[in-house]
Each structure stands twice: as structure tokens, then as C-alpha cells.
Amino acid sequence: MDSFTAITLAVFLPFILAGILPVVEKVLKNRIGWYAAAVALLSLILVAQVAPTVIHGENIQGSIPWIPSVGIDLSFYGDGLSIMFGLIVSGIGVIIMAYSNGYMSKREDLPRYYQQLLFFMGSMLGMVFSANLIQLFIFWELTSITSFMLIGYWRNRPMSVYGATKSLLVTATGGLFMLAGFLLLNAMTGTFDIPTILHSESMIEFIKDHELFIFALILILIGAASKSAQGPFYIWLPNAMEAPTPVSAFLHSATMVKAGIYLVARIHPMFSGTDAWFILVSGVGIITMLVAGFLAFRQTDIKGILAYSTISQLAYLMTMYGYTTHIHPGIGVAAATFHLLNHATFKASLFLVAGIVAHETATRDITKMGGLRKEMPITFILATIGALAMAGIPPLNGFLSKELFYEASWEMGAELGGAFTFVIPALAVLGGVFTFAYSIKLIDGIFLGKRPSRGLPEHIHDPGWTMILPTAFLALLIILFGLVPSIPAHYIIEPATEAILLEPVDLHVSLWHGLTPSLAMTIVTFILGLLIYTRYDSIAAWQNRFNSKHPMISVNYFYDAAVNNAKSTTFGFSSRMQPGTIKTYVTALLLLMIVLFIIPIIVLTPDIIPSTLNFDIQAYEGIVYLFMIVAALGAALLPRYLPAIVSLSGLGYLVGLLFIYLQAPDLALTQVLVETLTTIIFLLAIVKIPQKFREHITPSVMTRDLLIASAVALTVFIMMINATQGIVPPFESLSHYFIEKSIPLAGGHNMVNVVLVDFRAYDTLGEIAVLCLAALGVYNLIHSRGEEE
């Protein structure tokens, strides 16, 4: 199997195998999660199998024609960056699906849950391996949609629905901005193919000098920021915590929220090295990092703390990708990429711990917890590893990437000079201090201190191995990456960094590299972090007071106002447009019809009433016409249903008679048969509807309706008598074709039949489909009645 096939399979197998999941569920029942984990493992193996090729510096590329006319193919591209994301997505996927076996209750709708998780995984893999901007956009929006469904997994909880809607509105709207940015990129380069742009220096030069550059950059960054919860778009992520915890661990910490980071890394060669890049990416990054880190203090929900922490940590990554304009790009990008990998491990493990704690204590409120270390020793150890890694304590992996971040910030400050020499490192340290404080809070609040006397279940214990093992595996990775950083650095980070920078990178990461400024910054972080931690609760209390005093200083305030107003506005609009009475709709429709018919007649014909009217008819025709009018009047005026329907049926047979006269034997036959059937159905239905209601038509209503009816009749009449009066059609009738080809092509003498079953057989197929649907509809209407009784 070549590498391209392997990647294609890794992307599409989750979709296909998720499709048959309901069938597998019949066999496996509650153990369906292991099937899902096996599917994720399959993708992981497929991605891992191509990794060596990429590590040796050979990128994977291939495509299958999709929409060749506009240059869009189904094409995949695997470089170091894609492979790293591919490994994270499928690897964490395996862990999450395995963990879910313990977390999700047997009573839950497991097939839906796992199906959506697998759909998400496939979409995410498709996105990171996309070689085509349009394809990337499609997979990008697919991840938004699956995220929406998973956040709203508990459909009957209002907060779930709120969170799901919010995430979809923010991320999908951001995605549309991104699409606009891609189109601008296409306008500049003439291609949607990512590798083509990446590997053409002249194209990249051209982009950077182009007047559309700044617009494309801003649009794409809006997409990235909305997905990665940066800047004002962060608001959706805290509400996304309504999802089941494994989903939060998977989508909203380890993978999907990193899609924006992926995008920034992906477009790095095209847009970086400019001032706009630095200001937008690093500027938004630093602000988000500080604000989100600070806001984490007032969260009492464990997952809420983790959500704000995720926002803040993602902002680290953004900041570092933005640095490359001014400092030697290697450090910032490598630091960001390394931290990205580390964050996936420790944040996912912390979410899994949060899941365990919530699962065992039935609450996620940190203020109600404490002293659980004795009852849940294993969970305590795992949580400590994760939290300390997040805080940046050696020898865990978070320490290493945090050091690199400090180093990059220090150099950045030195590069910019002036006040920035200290401001930028100080801001970086401040971000680290917040991180340190809430990391400690997680351990202290849940596991240390005294067990509260009320609010917790009596017996709390470590969960089963299905939840412990996946978490432990992540903890193991945290320690491993920390102690032997050369393994991830060499096999994952270097290829990924090379893919971002498009030049060879030699990365050396070690626990100890002398007395450097970054070490000093780390030590300052720890000291300040401990100091701030002693004031943790009063800071949180101050935040709460501030928030209740100034409710308008909040992005959510504006989001809620906008969404609620949109709801009431559209509701008002639609209730005015659709008052619900058939009469209004019909009147509007008929009046529009009159206008649309009368205008061309007035414009096109010399006289509205043509001079050559033909009143020349046979006596029997006149009788048929007369009877038709009488029958229609009878159907309209007879007060009781039954006589009216008999009269209507008479009209139908007269129409059949008229068809014979109009040289349409087939129609006459059909009309008679159908009329018979219609009459039977009418009678069957009508005997069941007693005639209780009899409309009293007031004179004013009568006048109005008669006016409308006469206007319609007059319009139809004028249209018909003008139809053959010299209004020349702009094209020739295609009926010739049927007359000429009926025998040679279809071998039929009856042209109507030939048209129906041969030349326009698809129409007939559609007609049969309508009949089937109507039959199904009738059946269901009758059937639904049986259920209620």
C-alpha cells in the first residue's frame, strides 16, 4: 500500500466504519466503544505507517479528480505538520474511545455517540491532510458540525443546546470568513492547491506584495481565531463544556480547537515575516493568553477552569507563531509545535481526570470538593502529573516547552528593543503565573485539604481500569517526553517545524541548559505563582463582583443580545410574512399571478381583446361546455358535501369527454380512470367527516372573494384568447422532435406513450415517486392515528 492510499484510507475508513456501526452494535451491544476504539487504532496505524517516509523528508502527495473543471481535486498532502496532527488526532482518538467505555453509561445512546466521534475523527484527519483549500474548508466545517452535535449530545438540556448553538454560530461563521480568505488567496495565486503555493517562492513573494494580502490574512485569521477560541471568539469554548467529558478532552482541548493553530501553521510560509503577521497573530495571542488565564480564576466548574486554560494555552501557540517576523524563526515555531504536542497530552489527561472525578463524585463544582487524595490515590497521582506538567514543573514535558516559550519571548523582547525588552518577557511570565496558579488550584481544590462534610457521596473510589489506563497512558507520555525530549523532538517536532518553515531545522531540547534568562523567568514564575495562589480566592471574588457590577464588559453579553434580538426579529418578520391563514397566501399568490400574466399581455399584444375571436362551435361542444359550468357551480354551491362531490365527479368525467374531442384519447382514458379513483377516495374520506361547519359568508367577504375570483377568471380568459394571437415564442417548439423520432428511435406509434416511457421517462419516474410518497404519507397519517389510541 503506498502512502497516499494509506492516508486516504485513514481519512475515509472512520466514516465508512462509523456508517456500519449501528449494525455492529446489534452484535457487540454495550461494548460498541471498543469497536470505535479499534477503528481509531486502525487510523492511527495507517498514519503511523507513513510517518517514517515523512520523517525522512519525503512528502506524500496524491489526488483523485473530483471537480476538475474548477481545479478542485480530492487531494491529500502529508508533511511533518500533517503527520504530527494526524498522530495526535488518531492517537488521542483511541484513548478517548477506550475511556468512553467506562465513562458513558450503558443507558446512553451509544451508537450515536461513537458514530459522531468517528465522524469527527475522520473530518479532522481529512482536514489536516487536505492538499486543497476548498477540501480543507469542507472538512473544517464538518468538524464544526460534528462538534455541534457532540456538544448538544444531551439534547434535552437547555445549556447543552445553548452551548452547541453558540459553538456552531461562532465557528461556522468564522469558517465562512476563512473561505472568503481562501478565495482571495486563489485570486492572488490562481490555485487552490496548498503544496503548489508552499513550494513556489515566486508565488509566496507575489502574495506578500499583493494589495489583497492584508485582507486575505485577516479573513483567514478570523477563521483560525474562531476555531481556536482566540480573541473575542473565545466565548464558545467554555459553553462547549456541556459536552460529555471525553468529547471535551478530544475535541475541545486536544484536537479540534487546535485546527485554528494548524491553519496558522499551514499558512505560515505564505503570510509570515510581515509586520501584519506579527501584530495580528502575536498581538491577539498575548491578549487572549492573559485575559483567559486571568478569567480562569473565577471558574468553579473543573471543566470551566480547563476550558479557560485551553484558551490561554492555545494563545501561547499563536503568540509564538507570530514571533517569527522578528526573531530567528526556528525557536518560536519549534517551541509552539512542541508545546502543541505537550498540551495535547497534559490537557487531555486533565480532562480525563475531570471526567473521572465528575463520574465518581457526581459534581464538577470544585468548591464542593477537597481531600479526595485518600479515596482516589491513583487519580490523584495522574491529576498531579497532568497539572504539574501544565504548570511547567520539571522534569515534565510542559516545563520544556514553557522554557522554549520563555526563551523565544526573551529573544523577541531583545530584538524589538526599547521598552519591549522587558515588556514582552514580563507578559510571557504573567501568562505563566496564571497557568501555574490555576494548575495548583486543580490539585489543591480537588485532592488536598479537608473533605467537605456535605455534598459528596459517601463512598468515593478510583474508577475501573477502562478509565484509568487511557489516562495513565497519557501521564506516561508526559513523563517520557519530559525525560527523553529528544524522541518527540527528533521524530515529530523537527519534521513538523521543517514543514512550517520549509527549511531544515536542528532542534536540541534538554532539561538543563545552563543558567539562561529563560531559567530565571521560570523561577520567577514559580515564586509569583505561589504568591498569587495565596490570593486565589480573593481574586476570584473580585472578578465576580466586577462582573456583576459591569455586566456589559463581557463578550457574552453582546453575543446573547445579538442572538436574542435575532430571534425576536426573525420571529416578528416571519409572523408578519406568514400569518398562517391559507386565504392570505392564496390571495397573495393569485394577485401576483394576475400581475405576472397581465404585464406581458399588455406589452406584447396590440389589443387586449383580439379581433379574430372564434365563436364557431358544434352544438355538442356547447352542451359539454354548459354542463361543465353547471357541474362546477354545483360542486361550489351545493351546501352538503356528498352532492357537491358527485357534482365534482361529474365535472371530471366531462373533462374526460372533452379530452376526446381535443384529440387526446390517452388523456381521456386516464382522466376517466383517475376520476373514478378520485371519486372513490373522496367518498371514503368524506363519509368520515361529518359536516358540522357551515361557513357564513358575509356580504363584504362575498364581494371581496367574488372580485378576486373574477379577476383570476378574466386574466385566464385574456391570456388564453391572446395565446395564439401573434405572440411569437422566442424559440421553436421541440414537439417536432417527438413526432419525427417517435418511430425511428423508440419504435412506438403512440407518441404520447413514447414520450412518457421513453423520451421523458425520468419525468414518469418522478411521477411514480410522487405517488409512492403520497401513498406513504397517507399510510403514515392513518397509522399515526392507530398509535395514539
Binding site: 391563514t581 375571436l613 372564434n614 365563436f615 364557431d616 362551435i617 356547447g622 361546455y625 361543465m628 359550468i629 362546477a632 360542486a635 361550489a636 365534482l648 365535472l651 371530471g652 373533462v655 381535443l662 384529440q663 387526446a664 384519447p665 390517452d666 386516464t670 383517475v674 379513483l677 377516495i681 374520506a685 368520515k688 367527516i689 359536516q691 361547519f693 361557513e695 372573494d705 375570483a709 383570476v712 377568471a713 385566464v716 380568459f717 388564453m720 384568447i721 395565446a723 395564439t724 421553436e732 417548439s733 414537439s735 413526432i739 419525427e740 423520432k741 403512440n750 407518441m751 412518457l756 421523458r760 419525468d763 410522487v770 405517488l771 403520497a774 404519507g777 397517507v778 397519517l781 392515528r785
Partner: protein, 142 residues
């Protein structure tokens, strides 16, 4: 069929159907729809018929016989400059237009389906709400 009286008949049926559609009783509305669909079918079919034409069934003399080309179906004189999109134009045949008949045949069958469906719908509405008055239903739905 450029016959004014037929046009008038169809127009009157349209008017009656329209009046019925504007009623408050669902059953009356359905009857109105039926009448309108009859009228539309006749309108379309009559537009394909011209004086002196034959039913659209090809007989052995093919309709191409010179003695029978008393009338042409199509006003093809316009084809002096515009070429027919599909076939060569300008040769006279005396069949009525088969295409409109095929379309109307489909329409007749489909109107059977829709009539059956809305009838059952009306029946179910009556069962659920005990009335066929649209205004009353509107009030009940809130």
C-alpha cells in the same frame, strides 16, 4: 384550440375554483383545488390543438401525406433566422402536440396523489381537532 367559448369555459372554471379556495371549510378548499387542476389540464391540452389535426398516434400514411396537411401545428414561420434547437423546422405535420398531452397525463396522475393526500390530511385534522374550519384550527393551534 383557439375557440373563444372553450377559453371562456376554462376561465369560468378557474374563477369558481378560486372562489372555493378562499373558503374556510377545508373540504371546500380541496374541491376548489380539484376544479382548478381540471381547468389547468384543459388549458394546456387545448393549447396543443389546432383546427384540423389528428390525435398523436402515427398511422401508416404517416400524416405526411400531402392531402392531409391542411393545417400546421406550429407557427414555424419564425424560423427564417432562428434554427430549431433540436430538429429541422418548417415541415408541416398534422398531429396535435404530443408533448403537452404527455405532460398533462403526468399532471392528472399526480393530482390524484395530492388530492388523496390532502383528503386524508383533512380527515386526520378533523379527527384531531373536531372541526374543518380553517379559522377555528388557526385559533386552536395558537
Amino acid at each position: 384550440m383557439n375557440n373563444t367559448l372553450l377559453s371562456l369555459t376554462i376561465a369560468i372554471l378557474f374563477g369558481i375554483g378560486t372562489f372555493l379556495i378562499l373558503r374556510r371549510d377545508i373540504v371546500k378548499v380541496i374541491i376548489g383545488l380539484s376544479i382548478i387542476s381540471h381547468a389547468v389540464n384543459m388549458l394546456i391540452v387545448s393549447s396543443g390543438v389546432f383546427a384540423g389535426t389528428k390525435p398523436p398516434i402515427i398511422t401508416d400514411d404517416g400524416g405526411h401525406g400531402a392531402s392531409e396537411t391542411t393545417g400546421t401545428i406550429f407557427t414555424d414561420v419564425l424560423s427564417e433566422n432562428i434554427l430549431a434547437p433540436i430538429t429541422t423546422a418548417g415541415h408541416s405535420v398534422n398531429y396535435v402536440d404530443p408533448l403537452v398531452q404527455a405532460l398533462v397525463l403526468t399532471a392528472i396522475v399526480i393530482s390524484l396523489a395530492t388530492t388523496a393526500f390532502i383528503l386524508i390530511l383533512a380527515y386526520r385534522i378533523y379527527e384531531e381537532y373536531g372541526t374543518t374550519d380553517i379559522k377555528e384550527l388557526r385559533r386552536l393551534w395558537g
